[in-house]
Symmetry: C2
């Protein structure tokens, strides 16, 4: 694994150039320019500016600095030199085969990734049942793969260190199967889920690091300030969102701009406004927001899609939670509901909720149907606030 | 033109149902559900929830209310009744041929709209040259059409009253050519531009209302609280954005949620964070953000794409500017620059900027090249801050 800091006698060109130029976008801007030149073969300054979404004069200046460093040359447009190729591949960790995801218009999966999708479908069943008290709901394998491809396309996997804050969706596995990341780390409260990820990772040699941890507590050693990016599909409550994003910010290296990925559902307007305020007030803003990007298995009675937002984490981003957090974060804690399940075996209806005999569906399954004793085959039929 | 209020003996079902149900999303939610049922022919509750991005229980309850009103029936899913069809078409103004835009994945224009694109290309030249001191930069005809199609897809044109806050891009014309809107109004400071839009509107019988007005001043009569939606591609400065969005909010009917459309460029991270803060602080949030949606003609030396954001304007949205605004809003006022133009005829370079002989490119063209007298053919070659 490389750390991106001067292996094999290379200078950290990306950082040096961004400092010399006092770039407001920081070293990410230089990396973006270099990545595009590497990927495209030959590219003019105008197309380069368009692809990186940087102003033309800034793009042109970065290109000149890269030329001075001998990393880029001019040949009917910007091209990468041999020395530059080595730098991009060995130090930045970007390699051609890994970085072109083939996510098509409309975020469809290209046929050449179908074998990864098939694997993900198989791994899907290795997880324990989703724990509703932890707001778990499994994204479909298609969603998981599309997420990882989207991260790849946005330069957040190849050569990067990525953190997954909660990963019952197995996005880390999809990222691992695509390959090219320098570090893939999952932090989750669910030990059984982590065991499943460990097993898959071992089987496929993905090297995913699994850390059992409750995000309400501060991180253990080795996480704060160590990552390039994070992805989270947090509890769908404001305190849950705030907490997970706060931990994400803490995990990132201090840079002028990093990318983060957030899955979150639509909610009524005023609740949504508070959500967006929380994001902006922590120093994050939305680069791209794709409605209905994420689909979930099961959750039939809930709205079963969420958006995916790519966020920029600015230099001064400030977690709204710093130390331990002792408040409630899960939907079941904040908005207690009574859920009515129908036993598919004997047909009776059973109420589940904090004030009932079974506080969660997991508990009902453990104890079995009070009428016929069945331990599975419960279908959610109604849901109401307490 | 219909006002949506009880023509032909119809009650305002959309409003009545939203009030009776105390919907947090307001009447827009009922309209969204009804529109989907109308468009799809037959649709189940789950698909309906997915399409409208409302929770399943809310969707199901709205559907039941629509059934009670005799607007919707059950026939292997929700279907529109004859009575419902008349209500949707005559009162809500939604008609089948108008509402399906055919914007494809990746926001590509469907071939059946090529005749509109051709017209827009023709109209493009009817405008006076872009006035850089007003931050004008013309979007390409493709962009203009894609914007209008996107508004259509999101239920903001058919049967709606739409306001364009500044329209050098001719989006109102594209919207008019698609048809179906109840009112299309352009407010612009540029009388010559408005004359061109008036001429096009007359020629094509689009009925576009053109109002000559400086948005730094409060609106004249007949605009405040009268629109369902607005679109703006404002000056790319924070005061410009704040002012244009403030006027947009003032122009909207007071509702629990309305949609607005904003084109804006990428900027360095901290500037972008301030932009997003301004949006959220006014009570607006992002529903969808599509990077690089808008492309512009000419502006070769500037970053020539902007994102398009669909915003929800919440009930309590508060303009940050209420009365007159006397501050600076245009890029040239806030960030004076010296631009160097090269005369294509004689080859000399001429500096243009507030402290030079010619303060704008328009002035240079009017006076002619100081060396050879040419009045056009100036190419922007450099740009620097004063």
């Amino acid at each position: 694994m490389t750390t991106g800091n001067g292996e094999k006698g290379f200078q950290n060109h990306v950082r040096l150039i961004s400092r010399r130029m006092e770039l407001k976008e920081g070293e990410e801007a230089v990396r973006r320019v270099l990545r595009e030149i590497y990927l495209r073969g030959v590219i003019g300054t105008k197309d380069l500016a368009r692809a990186t979404r940087l102003p033309v004069p800034v793009t042109a200046a970065i290109r000149r600095e890269l030329e001075k460093a001998g990393i880029v040359a001019r040949r009917g447009g910007a091209v990468i030199t041999e020395r530059g190729k080595a730098y991009v591949e060995e130090v930045l960790g970007i390699k051609n085969e890994a970085v072109v995801s083939g996510l098509k218009a409309g975020f469809e999966i290209d046929v050449r990734h179908i074998h990864i999708l098939d694997k993900l479908k198989g791994f899907s069943d290795m997880r324990p049942d989703p724990k509703t008290q932890l707001d778990q709901a499994f994204a479909t394998p298609e969603t998981t793969l599309r997420r990882a491809l989207y991260m790849l396309d946005n330069g957040s996997l190849a050569g990067r260190e990525a953190l997954f804050l909660g990963d019952d969706d197995l996005t880390s596995v999809a990222a691992g199967l695509l390959g090219g990341a320098n570090r893939l780390t999952v932090v989750d409260i669910d030990e059984k889920l982590l065991n499943a990820i460990r097993e898959i990772s071992k089987m496929e040699r993905l090297g995913i690091e699994c850390i059992h941890h409750d995000l309400r507590d501060p991180f253990p050693e080795g996480i704060e300030g160590r990552f390039d990016t994070f992805l989270t599909d947090p509890p769908y409550t404001l305190p849950g969102l705030r907490l997970f994003l706060s931990r994400g910010i803490q995990a990132l290296r201090k840079r002028k701009s990093s990318k983060a990925y957030l899955a979150y559902p639509d909610k009524p307007p005023l609740e949504m406004l508070r959500t967006h305020s929380a994001i902006v007030n922590m120093g994050l803003y939305i680069d791209e927001l794709i409605p209905r990007f994420n689909e979930y298995q099961g959750a039939e009675i809930l709205a079963n899609t969420t958006f995916l937002a790519r966020l920029t984490v600015t230099e001064g981003a400030k977690p709204s939670v710093e130390g331990s957090f002792r408040g409630e974060i899960y939907t079941g804690e904040l908005r207690p509901t009574i859920r009515t399940y129908k036993c598919r075996v004997c047909g009776i209806e059973i109420e589940v909720g904090t004030t009932r005999d079974h506080s969660t569906i997991e508990e009902l399954k453990e104890r079995g149907c009070p009428s016929c004793g069945a331990v599975e085959g419960f279908k959610l039929t109604r849901r109401r606030a307490v």
